[in-house]
C-alpha cells in the first residue's frame, strides 16, 4: 500500500503455474466453471493451446470470453448494424464500430467521438463508486481515440421513487456521476432519470462521453513495429475489481494466508484521471504515441491481447515490471485487475525518454512493461517464467459466438391487446382533478433539478445548452463557432410492447431532440440493456430491437458508430424492461445559432409540426 516506494517485495512467492508446468500436468483440474467458462469453451481453449491453459491464461480467456467482453450472444445480431450501413452513411466516419469509440468528421478539420456505456451491476452493488467508475471508464475510451473529452451525459433507470432501495441507489448514483464528472472538469450536458419497478433490483447507469480532436490526432489501438515498447501508465495495479478471478487465488494461497473474498468493486480516483487526460493530450501532441488502449473491464488481459491482435507482430510483457499496490499478486490477479485510471501505450524506443518526461511532469507513474516482438504470440512472464503464451487473437477476438434461441413470448399478444381502450375514463370533475394531481405529482414528470444541480454544466465554458434543453450543445471550435448537439433517449415501456418499434421510437426521439436544437443529426451510439440472453423471450426482444434500430438508422441515413451491450439485467428470473438507449450526435455550424429551449419573446407565433 505504499505510494512512493517500489513494488512490495514478494514475501511468500506462490507456486507459479508456468506454461511448462501446464504442459507437464495435463490432468490437473481447473476451476473453469467457477470462472464462468462452459465445458466446451474450456475444451476449445485446450484445443487452441494444445495443452491445458495456465492459471494466468485461464484467467485471461475467462474474462475475455465473458459475455461482457466477447459479445458472444449479441455478435450475430449486431452484424446487422454493419450490414445495413452503406458507403454513403460511412462518409463522415473516421472510425466506426470495433474501435474504442466511433469518430465523426464534423468539418473544418475537426472530429468528434462519442460513445455510451453501461455500468449497471457495479452501481447496484455500490451506487456511488459504481456510477463514478462508469463515468471514468467511458471517458478513458474517448481518450484512447486521441480526443479531449469535452462533455458527459448520464441515462439513469431506477426502481420507483418510493421503493426502499431507490433511496440508497439514486442518491448514490447521482453523487457518483457528479463526483467523477465534476472533478474531471467535464460539463454534464444532459441525460434521463426514469423510474420503473423492473429496475428496483437492477438499476441502469448508462454514461456517455463526447470528445473532440483534430483529424490528424486520431489514435487507434494497435501494437505494431517490433522493438516498440509497451508502456503502462497511470494508477498502480491493485486487487480491486478482481471479483471472479479470486477463485484462482483461493486455490493458490494456502488457507491461512488466503485472500479474503475480494470485492468486485472498484474505487474511482477522478483526480488521477484528470491528470491522466492532460498527460495523454500532451503525449499525443508531442507525437509520442504509436498506439494506445485504455484499461477497463478485464484490465491488462484486454489491453495486451487487443493491442497485440490489432498489430502486426507479437508481444512480450513482463508482469514483474507492473507497479503494484498490493503484495504477492499472482499473474492471474495482475492480468485481471480492474484498477481504474490506467492506460497502455505503444511507444517507439527513441521516444521512451520523452514519454517518461511528460509523465513525470504530470506526476503520472509510467513503466515499460514489455515490447512488440516478431512472430505472432503474446508471451507474458512473471518471476522470470513464462506464464502466458497464446495467439492474441484467440483471446481478444476469436471467442465463442452463440446463436441463442429466441422466440416471441406467448404473453406478447395479451400485452399488446391490453390497451387503454378498456380502461375506465375519468368523467366527473373530481376524477379529472384527481388524475391531473396524480400526473403533476408523478416522479416521471417532476423536474430533474435535484439531479442536475449536482452536476457542473459550465466548466470549460463551451456549453451552449444543457438542462433543461432537449439536447446538450457544446462548442467544439471557439474560433469558428462550430459545435455539436447530443441527446440520449429510450422509452422502455414502448419497447416492452414492441421492441422493434420501441427501439425506432428511441432513435426518433433522440433525433428530434437533436434536430430541435438546430443541429443536423449525423451519427448514433447505443447501449442495449436487456435481461438474460439465455431466456428466449429476452433474446427475441434483443433481436427485434437491434433489427428495428438498424433498419431505422439505414432509413434515416445515420450510421451506428459504436455502443455497448449489457445483458443479464434481471432480478431473479425477472428481466428488466428491454431498454435500448440511443444517443444521437448532430452538427451545428455555428453554436450561436442553436435554437433555445422554450418560448422566446411575447408575440412569437407558436407552430405545431407533424400530425
Amino acid at each position: 500500500m505504499t505510494v512512493q516506494s517500489s513494488p512490495p517485495a514478494p514475501s511468500s512467492v506462490p507456486p507459479v503455474d508456468t506454461v511448462e508446468r501446464a504442459a507437464a500436468t495435463p490432468d490437473e483440474t481447473q476451476p473453469h466453471a467457477a470462472l464462468g467458462l462452459r465445458d466446451e469453451e474450456y475444451a476449445r481453449i485446450r484445443d487452441i493451446l494444445g495443452r491445458r491453459p495456465t492459471e494466468a491464461e485461464l484467467a485471461m480467456y475467462s474474462v475475455m470470453w465473458s459475455e461482457h467482453c466477447s459479445y458472444k450472444s449479441s455478435k450475430v445480431h449486431l452484424r446487422r448494424f454493419g450490414d445495413t450501413t452503406t458507403e454513403a452513411m460511412r462518409a463522415r466516419l473516421l472510425a466506426g464500430i470495433g474501435e474504442n469509440a466511433g469518430v465523426v468528421d464534423v468539418g473544418d478539420g475537426w472530429a468528434v467521438t462519442f460513445k455510451v456505456e453501461s455500468h449497471n451491476h457495479p452501481s447496484y452493488v455500490e451506487p456511488h463508486q459504481g456510477a463514478a467508475t462508469g463515468v471514468g471508464g467511458i471517458v478513458r475510451d474517448i481518450m484512447a481515440m486521441g480526443a479531449r473529452p469535452v462533455a458527459v451525459m448520464d441515462a439513469l433507470r431506477v426502481g420507483p421513487l418510493d421503493a426502499p432501495d431507490t433511496a440508497r441507489v439514486l442518491p448514490g448514483v447521482v453523487s457518483g456521476v457528479g463526483f467523477y464528472g465534476n472533478c474531471l472538469g467535464l460539463p454534464n450536458i444532459g441525460g434521463e432519470v426514469v423510474f420503473d419497478p423492473s429496475y428496483a433490483g437492477n438499476p441502469l447507469v448508462n454514461a456517455l462521453c463526447v470528445g473532440v480532436l483534430r483529424h490528424e490526432d486520431l489514435h487507434l489501438a494497435f501494437a505494431s513495429g517490433a522493438g516498440n515498447k509497451i508502456v503502462l501508465f497511470g494508477a498502480r495495479t491493485g486487487l480491486d475489481g478482481i471479483g471472479g478471478v479470486s477463485v484462482l487465488a483461493s486455490e493458490t494461497f494456502a488457507e491461512d494466508t488466503g485472500r479474503k473474498k475480494l470485492p468486485s468493486v472498484q474505487v474511482g480516483d477522478p483526480f488521477a484521471e484528470k491528470v491522466l487526460i492532460e498527460c495523454c493530450l500532451e503525449l499525443f501532441g508531442g507525437g509520442l504515441v504509436v498506439g494506445i488502449q485504455d484499461l477497463g473491464g478485464a484490465g491488462l488481459s484486454c489491453a495486451t491481447s487487443e493491442l497485440a491482435s490489432a498489430g502486426d507482430g507479437g508481444m512480450h510483457v513482463d508482469l514483474d515490471a507492473v507497479p503494484l499496490r498490493a503484495a504477492d499478486m499472482t499473474a492471474a490477479e495482475i492480468l485481471s485487475s480492474e484498477s481504474q485510471e490506467r492506460m497502455c501505450a505503444v511507444v517507439t524506443p527513441e521516444n521512451v525518454d520523452a514519454f517518461m518526461a511528460v509523465c513525470r511532469r504530470w506526476d503520472v507513474t509510467a513503466t515499460v512493461i514489455g515490447e512488440v516482438t516478431d512472430g505472432d504470440r503474446l508471451r507474458i512472464t512473471h518471476h522470470g517464467e513464462t506464464v502466458v503464451d497464446v495467439p492474441p487473437r484467440t483471446v481478444a477476438h476469436d471467442g465463442p459466438v452463440y446463436e441463442r434461441p429466441y422466440a416471441r413470448p406467448e404473453w406478447q399478444d395479451a400485452l399488446q391487446a391490453d390497451t387503454v381502450a378498456g380502461r375506465p375514463r375519468p368523467s366527473t370533475p373530481d376524477e379529472i382533478a384527481g388524475q391531473i394531481r396524480a400526473l403533476v405529482a408523478s416522479p416521471a414528470l417532476a423536474p430533474r433539478t435535484w439531479v442536475t444541480e449536482q452536476y457542473d454544466r459550465y466548466v470549460r465554458g463551451n456549453t451552449a445548452a444543457a438542462t433543461p434543453a432537449d439536447a446538450g450543445v457544446v462548442r467544439v471550435d471557439e474560433a469558428g463557432g462550430r459545435g455539436v448537439a447530443v441527446s440520449i433517449d429510450a422509452n422502455a415501456r414502448f419497447c416492452q410492447l414492441d421492441p422493434r418499434v420501441g427501439a425506432q421510437l428511441a432513435l426518433a426521439e433522440s433525433m428530434r431532440n437533436v434536430a430541435s436544437s438546430g443541429a443536423v443529426p449525423v451519427a448514433v451510439t447505443d447501449c442495449l440493456n436487456f435481461g438474460s440472453p439465455e431466456d428466449p423471450a429476452v433474446m427475441w426482444q434483443f433481436a427485434e430491437a437491434v433489427a428495428g434500430l438498424a433498419d431505422a438508422c439505414a432509413a434515416l441515413g445515420l450510421p451506428v458508430t459504436g455502443g455497448n451491450v449489457s445483458f443479464y439485467n434481471q432480478t431473479g428470473s425477472t428481466a428488466i424492461l428491454p431498454t435500448p438507449v440511443v444517443g444521437v450526435l448532430g452538427i451545428l455550424e455555428d453554436v450561436a445559432r442553436a435554437v433555445p429551449h422554450g418560448f422566446g419573446a411575447p408575440g412569437d407565433a407558436v407552430w405545431l409540426l407533424g400530425e
Binding site: V275, E453, Q454, Y458, V459
Partner: protein
C-alpha cells in the same frame, strides 16, 4: 498590455475559462504552473477553480502549499491584485491570504446553480461595479460554505471587506450569506461563484462576470 497570470495546479479545471475571461477583458493571460518558482512578471494573478489535488484532504489544502503559492502570497501581501475563484478562494484561505475557511455545503450536496450576488465593496476586482449592484453568475461547488469565528466576521463587515453576498439565502449555508471577501487593502479577493462562467450569454447566464476582470484591468492601467 497588462499581463494577468492564471495558475494551473494538477486538478485545476477552470483555468481555460479564467484565461478566456482575462482575454475578453482585454488583457494578456499568462499560464503559471504550480511548480513555478516565480510569477513570470505578471501584474495580477487569478487562482482558478477546480479540484486541485482532488480536494481529497481539504479543498485547496495541498495546492496552498505548492511552490507557486509562495510568491503569490508574498505579492498579494505587497498589494498585487489576486483573485481566487471557488477552489482558488479555498486555496487563498488555506494559504492564509484571506481569513476564514470554506467547508462542506450544509445540504451535503454539490450545488450547481445560477445565483444572484450583491456587490458590497469597492475593491481592485469590483471597481467597475457600483456598490449595491446585483449580478448573476453560476455557483458550482460542494465545499462552498464560508465560515469564520464571529469576531472575524464582525471585523470583515466593519472594515467593508465583505465583497459579495448572496441575494437569496446562501445555497451552501455560508455564514451571513457571504459569497466573497477581500484582504484589508481590497487587492486580494476570493469568491465561491464563478464570474469567468458569466462572460458570454452563449455559455453562461450573461456577461456580469466580466466586470471583475475589466475592474482589475482598469486598476492596472491607471497605475501604469
Amino acid at each position: 498590455m497588462s499581463r494577468i497570470g492564471v495558475i494551473t495546479f494538477p486538478g485545476t479545471l477552470d483555468d481555460v475559462d479564467a484565461a478566456r475571461a482575462v482575454r475578453y477583458a482585454g488583457a494578456e493571460a499568462v499560464s503559471l504552473w504550480h511548480d513555478d518558482a516565480d510569477l513570470r512578471g505578471v501584474d495580477a494573478v487569478v487562482v482558478p477553480g477546480g479540484f486541485s489535488y482532488g480536494d481529497y484532504l481539504r479543498a485547496g489544502a495541498i495546492a496552498a502549499r505548492s511552490p507557486v503559492m509562495g510568491p503569490v502570497v508574498e505579492a498579494g501581501r505587497a498589494g498585487m491584485p489576486v483573485l481566487g475563484i471557488c477552489n482558488g478562494f479555498q486555496i487563498l484561505c488555506e494559504a492564509g491570504l484571506l481569513p476564514g475557511a470554506l467547508v462542506r455545503n450544509d445540504g451535503l450536496r454539490f450545488v450547481c446553480r445560477e445565483v444572484g450576488l450583491r456587490v458590497e465593496a469597492d475593491t481592485a476586482w469590483t471597481s467597475a461595479f457600483t456598490v449595491g449592484q446585483q449580478i448573476t453568475v453560476p455557483l458550482k461547488s460542494g465545499e462552498g460554505r464560508y465560515v469564520a469565528d464571529a469576531a472575524t466576521l464582525d471585523a470583515l463587515e466593519a472594515e467593508g471587506r465583505v465583497v459579495f453576498r448572496y441575494t437569496e439565502p446562501a445555497p451552501n449555508g455560508a455564514l451571513r450569506d457571504i459569497a466573497g471577501i477581500s484582504s484589508a487593502d481590497g487587492r486580494v479577493v476570493g469568491l465561491m461563484p464563478h464570474p469567468e462562467h458569466a462572460i458570454d450569454a452563449l455559455t453562461g447566464p450573461g456577461t456580469d462576470g466580466l466586470g471583475l476582470f475589466t475592474s482589475v484591468l482598469r486598476e492596472l492601467t491607471a497605475a501604469a
